[in-house]
Symmetry: C2
Subunit: 514 residues, 2 copies
């Protein structure tokens, strides 16, 4: 496996008049025998500590060696092997952070936690934070917020696992390009300005101490490389987690967060793109929209004959709002029940008493006031529907533009991996009815969960996966959609349910009348 930090058991001959090799050189020499002949580098500020601990341990014990792209780095020495060698994998999301503590010796999960990104106080979304960053001290505040947030999550997880934070010997970070810029304290100015160039895509690993993280100061910090401003390390993690880059067959990976990010390919080639398709689906746009969390309506069914609606919420509690998967189910159901037309507009007079008039126009009541958590009905208005229509049109256009670019047909896709909360909750069948995902058999769609976090775990444990990351950034062709004419054309055609060209969706009923 070759985890990012290795414990190497050494037993050196003690020094003598006939063998006067210096302490540290002695240790490096015996280590080199177990490191394919390579002498590890010792950072200056660890020199005295490592040499002293090695001598105090009687020239035998466990060397702590960071396995870095630049070569092995000797950072500590322990007289006795520790019970665990913990490290943290982190999904650095725009709205939330999720982390896992792993034991590098066994790969076992030791703790897991989740918390809101403290940066929300400076901006709810990436764009507002990038604007905030240019203010006086703005970047520093954003940087400090994310470090402090990671540190408090670290303390919590270490507590769960009954460890000291200083026991944590490595950190891997998987996040979008902007979050990584904030994490490293790098100016995000050019990320959102044509031609959208990050300051760095593949930063070399740094030490936790350099970032004021509370874990061991010489813990290597592995940052998932990004491909561009809109295609971040979280997607590279997704590729690692799904093995998209290893298979002979062509597959696709879709991640819908703030943006929709998509990659298609196999072991021979990979092409990626990203576009704004997410907000309506992530809970940021719909009036009653929310992230996929407890109380979110995640599935909706509508009996066409009776007009009776049923729904389920995450964690089974009273509804507080509706998340992306619920919205998709709802809009598909409204279409099949002909309460909305193929342009996604309410059809006045349809939808029985659920279709109500509000100050903002017609709206559909998903949950009545009595049923909801706060006594207010959960409703979806025309504005929300319009947003969903734009999102679904963008998503389908992104997917078609991308496959078209490489001459692949949707039917050629072995798998479509769907990442994140979106992948976990969405019913692909309803997304197909909406014309958001291509009309393919259900078994093609495979949710991959939090693949950003999964990839972050993999790089802690497997050297080959760390190498894959660095190879991937050279291998992936990035297709810029912001200036893509084809995308714009396709977008117009995709603004109908399921599509202007209904031959593309043979499994979806087509209602020609408005």
């Amino acid at each position: 496996m070759n985890s990012i930090v290795q414990l190497i058991n050494v037993k050196a001959a003690p020094p003598s008049l006939n063998d006067n090799t210096a302490d540290l050189d002695r240790l490096k020499k015996v280590l080199a025998e177990q490191l394919a002949g390579v002498l590890p580098i010792v950072p200056f500020s660890r020199l005295a500590k490592v040499a002293t601990r090695f001598r105090d341990a009687g020239f035998a014990g466990m060397a702590v060696v960071n396995d870095l792209p630049g070569g092995p780095q000797l950072v500590d020495f322990m007289a006795e092997p520790p019970a665990v060698l913990p490290a943290m994998a982190l999904d650095l999301g725009t709205t939330h952070l999720e982390a896992v503590l792993l034991d590098l010796l066994t790969g076992r999960e030791l703790a897991r936690g989740y918390r809101e990104n403290l940066q929300v106080r400076y901006g709810a979304d990436i764009l507002s934070r990038i604007h905030f960053a240019v203010r006086d001290n703005g970047l520093q505040l954003l940087h400090d917020a994310i470090i402090s947030c990671i540190n408090s999550l670290t303390v919590e997880l270490a507590g769960q696992a009954d460890l000291e934070v200083n026991d944590l010997r490595a950190l891997s970070v998987s996040g979008n390009t902007t979050m990584v810029h904030f994490f490293l304290g790098l100016d995000p100015y050019h990320l959102i300005r044509e031609p959208y160039i990050p300051m760095v895509n593949g930063p070399d690993p740094c030490r936790a101490g350099e970032l004021d993280l509370v874990i061991h100061p010489f813990a290597p910090v592995w940052i998932m490389p990004s491909i561009g401003s809109y295609f971040g390390g979280d997607l590279i993690s997704g590729i690692l987690a799904s093995d998209l880059d290893q298979n002979e067959q062509v597959s696709m990976l879709i991640d819908v967060g703030t943006n929709a990010e998509v990659v298609v390919g196999n072991r021979d080639w990979l092409i990626a793109c990203a576009g704004a398709a997410g907000p309506a689906l992530e809970g940021g746009v719909a009036r009653m929209g929310m992230r996929a969390g407890p109380g979110a309506i995640e599935h909706v069914a509508l009996d066409v004959a009776s007009g009776k609606i049923s729904y389920s919420t995450i964690a089974g509690i009273k509804p507080k709002g509706i998340c992306g998967s619920g919205i998709i189910d709802l809009v598909a159901a409204l279409y099949l029940a002909r309460i909305i037309d193929l342009r996604g507009k309410f059809r006045p007079g349809h939808g029985s008493d659920r279709l109500i008039e509000t100050k903002q126009g017609l709206a559909y009541v998903v949950a009545v006031a009595d049923e909801s958590a706060d006594g207010h009905p959960v409703i979806v208005g025309q504005v929300d529907l319009d947003a969903v229509m734009r999102s679904k049109a963008a998503m389908y256009s992104i997917l078609t533009t991308l496959v078209n670019q490489v001459g692949v047909k949707f039917a050629d896709l072995h798998r479509i991996y769907v990442a994140g909360a979106f992948g976990r909750h969405i019913d692909p069948r309803q997304a197909i009815v909406l014309g958001m995902l291509p009309d393919l058999p259900m078994e093609v769609f495979e949710p991959v969960g939090n693949s950003s976090l999964k990839g972050a775990c993999q790089v802690l444990l497997v050297r080959r996966d760390r190498e894959r990351c660095r190879e991937l950034i050279a291998r992936i062709t990035y297709l810029e959609l912001n200036v893509n004419q084809e995308f714009m054309l396709r977008f117009s055609g995709a603004k109908f349910i399921p599509h202007t060209d209904h031959a593309l969706f043979p499994s979806v009923p087509f209602f020609s009348e408005n």
Copy 2:
């Protein structure tokens, strides 16, 4: 040549929508083309600076790349090529520091300076400083003293060359093992305790900022590796400067400082040892002894017939004392004039009015009170002679033990390189009369000056020489004299002028009577 810091001229295509490589990755990629395909590592704390300067310079200019054993390290970017790229080479001596500023672009010397090692306030010699180091805060004081001393020398040299200290992009340090321990803040405790093991012989290069040096914080600090507690990096420098390790013929390098350190060998093998032989010759023991500096009597001649003495001083000023080479000349002359016997004892009644009675016994007046700088005569007593006899016996024993160890005869030596002030001032002929150096033709002896400093200059300029250093510490066999029986036996035999076995010195007159 490949100096330790390289300026690499790059011109990258500016980013565009069709080429969205991030700024730093773009720079690394164009650099790799000039670095044999190797992507340089960028230290975390230089990332933003390098990327920003590269962009601000219009994606073209000069990259500053440190050439380190672990691979190239990108640390800066300049829009315009600088006139010079200065670096400092330092001979870190126990009593004095000597330094040169070099231009890494041309190899040209920019400035040169010399100053007393501020550590003398904590102990005149290595041993007393090692004892001082174990006191509360002692090591820290010694470390701070040497850093502060280097910094003030740096400021002086930068001033000479009309440069800012921050312009200095590298430092190489050549010193004995103890001085290097103090320089790095490492505990010297075991250096003087059997089996005499340093904490480290071959430290990896660190950054100037890590040592609070005033030069550029990302200047690499190259430390000459040592072979053992008594065989330091200054000798490795001597080997580099003399090419001892490159020649087919067998040669010898002798450095007499606080200790006598000797290495013999050729391109196929190298053997080294060290022993206490120096004090009497370095100015530390003889009552009127002094280092080879202005006012030191460096040469002495005695007319056997007339008993008339003549001498010369360094810088031609009035004598203040006598340095090692003067002492050697004097003792050889006293022997040839039969004022001392073959045991190095004054022969009462010889030496005319120059041989006087003092409270400490007989003494020889080298310069009368009227001639001297301070109105006191420069005299050498029996105690001083005894010290010289021990030193010369130790030296010859070290040399014979070493060559004997490898089955080489003195006559097989192509060259005997004599390093330092000792090599610069000594008359090998007089040292032969004394039985200190082997009886070989004069052309065998070659002074190599401050080879410690020369080697330090070489590693700044030539990559192959940096590699040689690291190879040397693996190649050299170190012979420990502290427990060598043969050395002890030879020492007894060498306590006569020129030697008990006068067949070893055919060119030296032998006087059998006492």
